[in-house]
C-alpha cells in the first residue's frame, strides 16, 4: 500500500476528532486489555514461557538459514513447493503466476499481513483476478475499501452501525435488502454470502503464523474458520508468509502458541490452529491439489546483526497496540502503513525509510507498556529510540526541534551556563506566573502545550539555588 506515514500529524488530528473512531477504540481498549490481563494471570507459567519463547526465537534467528532450508526440504518431500522471494514485486509475480497456472478468476483469502505488505489485492485486481477476503474484519474493510487498522482485528476502527451501513449498501445484489443492526445478524449475513464463494473460488490464499522446519507444515491461527475453508475447497493452497516465521519443532511451536493467543485476544487457544502440509494425498477425499509457500524477505534479513534485529522476534499478536495509549488515541490508520502501533513504529521505518516514517518512532511517550506486554519481550521503545537517532543523524525532521536539541546539548555540556540559564528562566517564569494565578494559559514556543492545557508556573527558584541557600 502507498505509505501515508509522513502525514501522521494531520491524520492524528482527524482521528481524534472522529467520534466513530473514538467510540470503536474505546471498545478495543476495554475488551483486549482486560482479556489479556486475565489470561496472563490464569497461567502460572506465563512469564517463564515468555522467557522460553524469547530464547527460542533468538536461537532461531541465529540459525535462520538452516531452519529455512530444512523447512523447504520437508515441504518438497511432501509434494509442495517453496518460493523464496527477496522483494514484494517478486512475491506478487510469483503469486500471480500460481493463480494463472490454476486458471484462477477468483481467489479466496484468509487474513495475511504479509499480503497487505506486498499490496496483493490491488495487484491481483489489476490483473483480472478477484480476491475475496473471508476473515470477517478483512471482508468489512474490503467493502469499505480501506486498509486494516489493526494486525489482528482489521476492522476494529468500525462501529457496528458503520458495518450495518456497509452491508446494507453492498449486500443488496445478493437479495439481502433488510438493514441489520445486531452483530449476530451481521455476522450471519456475511457467513451466508461467503459460503458459496469458498466453493466457487479457484485458489485459496492464506498467511501463516508459523512454518515448522521439522515437518514442512505451515500454521494458521484463527477464530472464524475462514482460513480453513479457504484452503481446503480450492484447487491450490498458496501460503504467503515471511522468513521470520520458521520454528524448529512442534514442541517449540507449542510454547509460542501458549503465549500468542493469551497476548492477542486473551484466549488460551484460538478456536482453530491448523497445520497444513503439502497438497491433498492421492487417497484423500478433499483438500487442495497444490501447495505453494511463498516466503518473503523484503529486507527482513537486513535486520539481522543490527540493533533492530529483535524486531524479528515479533509474532504479530497485536498486544503492543492494544496497550498503546497513542494507538488508542489515534487508531491504526493514522500510522499510514501496514503495521500500526508500537510494532509499526519500530518496523515501518525499515520498510519505508526513516525520511518517510520518522513520525512513527517519534510519536511515542516511551511509556514502555508495549514492551511490558510483548510476549517476545521486544524492547520496542529502545528500537524506536534507535530510529530517532538515525533520524537525527540523517537530519530528518523539523528544523526548530533539531536546533532545540543542539542548543540543549550545548548548555548541558557547560554546567555553570546551564545553571545560570535555568535560574534566569525560573525567576522570570516564577515572577510572571505569580501574577497569573500560578499558571499560564499561553506561552511563546509552547503553543502545543497550552492549546489544550495550562502550564503550571514554577516557584521561581531552582533546586540548586535552594540547596545552596541551605534549605534542607
Amino acid at each position: 500500500m502507498q505509505s501515508e506515514a509522513h502525514n501522521f500529524k494531520t491524520a492524528a488530528k482527524g482521528a481524534i476528532a472522529d467520534p466513530n473512531l473514538q467510540q470503536a477504540l474505546g471498545n478495543l481498549e476495554t475488551g483486549f486489555v482486560a482479556a489479556r490481563a486475565r489470561a496472563a494471570a490464569g497461567l502460572d507459567e506465563f512469564e517463564a514461557m515468555r522467557d522460553e519463547a524469547v530464547a527460542l526465537k533468538n536461537h532461531i534467528l541465529a540459525n535462520l538459514d538452516y531452519y529455512l532450508a530444512r523447512f523447504e526440504e520437508r515441504v518438497v518431500a511432501q509434494g509442495g513447493t517453496v518460493h523464496f522471494c527477496a522483494t514484494a514485486e517478486e512475491a506478487r509475480q510469483t503469486i500471480l503466476g500460481l493463480c494463472r497456472d490454476n486458471g484462477a478468476r477468483t481467489v479466496t483469502k484468509g487474513k495475511s499481513m504479509v499480503a497487505e505488505e506486498i499490496a496483493l489485492n490491488p495487484f491481483l485486481e489489476a490483473n483480472g483476478i478477484e480476491p475475496i477476503e473471508t476473515d470477517l474484519g478483512e471482508y468489512i474493510i474490503q467493502l469499505a475499501e480501506e486498509p486494516p487498522s489493526h494486525i489482528i482485528g482489521p476492522a476494529v476502527h468500525k462501529t457496528k452501525d458503520q458495518v450495518s451501513d456497509l452491508f446494507h449498501e453492498h449486500h443488496g445484489k445478493y437479495g439481502k435488502t433488510e438493514r441489520l443492526t445486531e452483530p449476530e445478524d451481521l455476522v450471519n449475513e456475511a457467513r451466508e454470502i461467503l459460503r458459496q464463494k469458498y466453493f466457487d473460488a479457484d485458489v485459496g490464499i492464506t498467511g501463516a503464523n508459523f512454518l515448522i522446519a521439522e515437518t514442512g507444515s505451515t500454521i494458521i491461527v484463527t477464530n472464524e474458520g475462514n482460513g480453513d475453508l479457504t484452503q481446503m475447497l480450492t484447487s491450490a493452497h498458496v501460503v504467503i508468509s515471511s522468513i521470520d516465521k520458521v520454528v524448529p519443532t512442534l514442541e517449540d511451536v507449542s510454547t509460542i502458541l501458549r503465549v500468542l493467543a493469551r497476548s492477542a485476544t486473551g484466549q488460551e487457544m484460538s478456536a482453530y490452529t491448523t497445520l497444513s502440509t503439502g497438497p491433498k494425498r492421492a487417497e484423500d477425499l478433499d483438500g487442495p491439489g497444490g501447495f505453494h509457500v511463498v516466503l518473503l524477505d523484503n529486507g527482513r534479513s537486513d535486520l539481522l546483526g543490527t540493533n533492530k534485529q529483535e524486531m524479528l522476534r515479533c509474532i504479530r499478536c497485536g498486544a503492543c497496540m492494544n496497550h498503546c495509549p497513542v494507538y488508542l488515541a489515534v487508531g491504526g490508520h493514522t500510522y499510514g502503513w501496514v503495521y500500526p502501533g508500537p510494532i509499526g513504529a519500530a518496523l515501518d521505518p525499515h520498510f519505508l525509510g526513516i525520511e518517510e516514517a520518522h513520525h512513527l518512532p517519534g510519536a511515542s511517550t516511551f511509556c514502555g507498556r508495549c514492551q511490558e506486554v510483548c510476549p517476545m519481550r521486544i524492547p520496542l521503545p529502545e528500537i524506536m529510540r534507535h530510529w530517532r537517532e538515525d533520524a537525527f543523524e540523517k537530519k530528518v525532521g523539523a528544523t526548530p526541534e533539531r536546533l532545540g536539541i543542539r542548543a540543549w546539548a550545548f548548555l548541558a555540556r557547560r554546567p555553570r551556563l546551564y545553571r545560570l540559564a535555568t535560574r534566569i528562566a525560573m525567576r522570570l517564569l516564577g515572577r510572571a506566573g505569580s501574577v497569573r494565578g500560578g499558571r499560564f494559559e499561553s506561552l511563546p514556543l509552547a503553543s502545543g502545550w497550552t492549546r489544550g492545557r495550562d502550564m503550571p508556573a514554577p516557584e521561581g527558584r531552582t533546586f540548586m539555588d535552594r540547596w545552596a541557600a541551605g534549605e534542607r
Binding site: 483486549f32 458495518v163 459460503r195 478433499d286 483438500g287
Partner: protein
Amino acid sequence: MLTKIGNANRDNPLRRPAEELADRIANPKQNLIPARAGGPEPERYALFLAKCRELAVTIDEIASDDAAPAAIADYLKGLNLPGRLKLSPSPEVTDLPWDTAPLLDVASGAAEISDQTGVTPAFAGIAETGTLVFVSGKETPPTLNFVPDNHIVVMRRSQVVRAMEDAFAAARERFGAGVMPRTLNLVSGPSRTGDVEQKIVMGAHGPRRLHIVMIDDVDNAAKQGD
C-alpha cells in the same frame, strides 16, 4: 537468500553447527508444559470437560458405542435440528449401530455445502485447553470439521491427553518423523468472531455448534489414579 542470512549471522554467538540443529529436530525436547495439565487420569479428564465447557462445547458422556446413535438423535431433537447426518467414512463412526436410531438419515463422505451436521472421530483431546485434534486422511475428510453448521465428534475418554505436545508425539508415532497428513486441526470450541465491536459471536464461518459424544472406555482402576 539463505547464504545472505548465513553471512549476516556469522558472528552471532547463538549460531550452532548443522549437526546440532539436525539433532535438535530429530530428538525434539519438550519445553515447559503447564503443571495444571499433568494430573492423573480422572483429574486430566475433568480438566478436559471443564475447559471444553468454558469454550461453549457441549458434551454427552455415554457408557458404550451402542448408545452413540441414540445420543446423537436426542441431541439433534433437543435443538430441533433435522436428522440428516454426514459421517466421516471411518469405521470409528460408520460402524456405530445406526439402525438403533431409525429417525437418523446417514450418509458418509466429504462435506458438501448442503450438509448441516457432520459426525467425525477425533485423533485426540487435549486436557490443558479443551482442544480437539483432527487429522486428515481418506477416512477423515477435514471439510466435515468446517462446512456443516453442527459438528458432532464421537471420541473415547482414553483419547484425552495432557497437552499439545502429547498429541504431536502421537502424530509423529502415527505418521513418522518429519511427516504430517495434509491437515492437522487443533479445534478449541466452535467458530467465533469478535470483528464487530469486539462482541463475540459464535458461528462466523465454521461450525456454530461443537458437540462431543464421549464414550467411556476407561476402566475403574485407571479412574482411581493413573
